[in-house]
Symmetry: C2
Subunit: 259 residues, 2 copies
Amino acid sequence: MKKPLILVSNDDGITSKGIRTLVMAMKKLGEVLVVAPDSPQSGMGHAITVGETLRLEENFIFDGVKAYECSGTPADCVKMARHYVLKGKAQPDVVVSGVNHGSNTSISVLYSGTMSAAIEGAIEGTPAIGFSLCDYSHDADFSHTEEPILRITEQVLKKGLPKGVALNVNFPPRRNENLKGIRICRQANAKWVEEFDERFDPNGRRYFWMAGNFVNFDKGEDNDEWAIANNYVSVVPCQFDLTAHSAIPLLNEDWDILR
Amino acid sequence: MKKPLILVSNDDGITSKGIRTLVMAMKKLGEVLVVAPDSPQSGMGHAITVGETLRLEENFIFDGVKAYECSGTPADCVKMARHYVLKGKAQPDVVVSGVNHGSNTSISVLYSGTMSAAIEGAIEGTPAIGFSLCDYSHDADFSHTEEPILRITEQVLKKGLPKGVALNVNFPPRRNENLKGIRICRQANAKWVEEFDERFDPNGRRYFWMAGNFVNFDKGEDNDEWAIANNYVSVVPCQFDLTAHSAIPLLNEDWDILR
C-alpha cells in the first residue's frame, strides 16, 4: 500500500520544538512534507499575505524530510504547499499543524494560526488536524502528546472526516498522572478580557502591551475547557461555514426593512 | 432619548474612502467613535498583535468625531476601543466595520479583517456589522451603500441581534440599475484557487506574488454570491462558535480510539 503524504505546518515557526515533535511522529505514518513559517506567527488568525511578496526557501532542519520555510502566514504555507510545491503532483492525504506552544481551546481557535493552517486544508477538501499543547513555554514537555497524535492521525487517515470539518486537538500540560483519554467536545463559551499596559519609549512616545485574562463562562462538561481541566485530550470538530443558520429565519421574520 | 454610541473600525485603514462613507452615515444615527488601523490590514483575518507593542494616536481626520489610529489589526482596534479608550465608560451600542474596498462574501469572510472587527464586537456581546463593497478600486463609488447601511444599522440598534451573531453585509458594485433590495443569506460554498507568480529580485533571489481565482461551487439562490450577482445587498448572520455540532455524534459513534 502506498504511504500517505502528510503535509505539516505550524504557527510557531519551523525551528520550534512543537513542529519537531509532530514531524517525528508523522514519519512513522507516511511521507512527510513540511511547509512552515520562517518566524513565529502566533495570533495570526486566518491571515493571508495580500499586497506583499512571499519568500519560500528549502530548509534542511529535519533529517530525511523535504521541508520549506515560508515568509508568510500559516494559511499562506498551506496554499504554497498545494499550489506551488505540489503543483501538478499528488496532493496531501492529511494536513497536520502544530504542535502549538500554547492552548487553542475555546475562543482562541479564532486567533489561532495553528488552526488556520488546518482549516485551510479543510477548505481544500483534505482531512486536517491542528494540535496544541496547553503549555506556553518554549521548552515545554511534548512527550505525552506523541501517542494520541499518532492514534488520532491514523484514525483520520483511515476514516476521513466529515466534509468541511477540521479537528482542533488540545493536550493538557504534562503532569505526573496519565492522560485520562480522548473526548470529542464542543468549543467552550469563554473569552479573553484584555488589559493594555501603557508605557513610554525612550523618546517619550506612548506604546502599549496587550495582556489578557481568560474568562470561562461555560459550566458544561461537554466542552474543550472542561476536558483539558480534567486531563483529557480535547477534540473539537470545527467548520469554516460561519453562517449562523438558526438566525436566518429569525431575521427574515423580524426585519421590517425586508418588506 | 440618549444617542447611541457607535464604534467604527475597518481594515483598509483610517484614511480610506470606505471608512469615511461609514463615519458620515453613522453621524446621522448617534455619537461616533473611530478606532481604526493606521495602515491597510486587508487579509488579516482574525489576527491579533501578540509579542509586539501597539501604538494608538488621536487622529483629527473626521470633523467633530473622536478618532484614533492604531498600529494593530482590526481585532486589536476593537479591543483597544473597549478596554482602553472606553475603559470604565459606557460601551458601544453597536460596532460597525468597513465599508471595505472589496468583497467579503462566501469563504472570504475567513480572511476578512473587516469581519474580524465585527466578530470581535459580537464576542464582547455587542451587536456588530461588517460592511463591504464588491469593488476593489480605491476610488470606488460608495454612494449607493449609504441608504441600506442606515436602514440595516437602525434595525440592529432597534431590535438587536441573536447572541453570538455578527452580520456580514456585502453590496454589489454601483450600477445604473437600482439595488433590488436586501436578502438574508447563507455563506456560499466557494473558494479561492491560488496561483503563485514566481519572480526574481535584483539580487537574483526568488520571490512570489500570490494571485487567486475565485471559484463558486454553489448553485443555490439563498447564498451571498447569488444575491450580489443579482444586485441584492447580502446579509449573512455569522457566528464565532466554529463547532461543527453535527459532527460530534458522528465522531463519537465512529471512532474506535475512544473505546
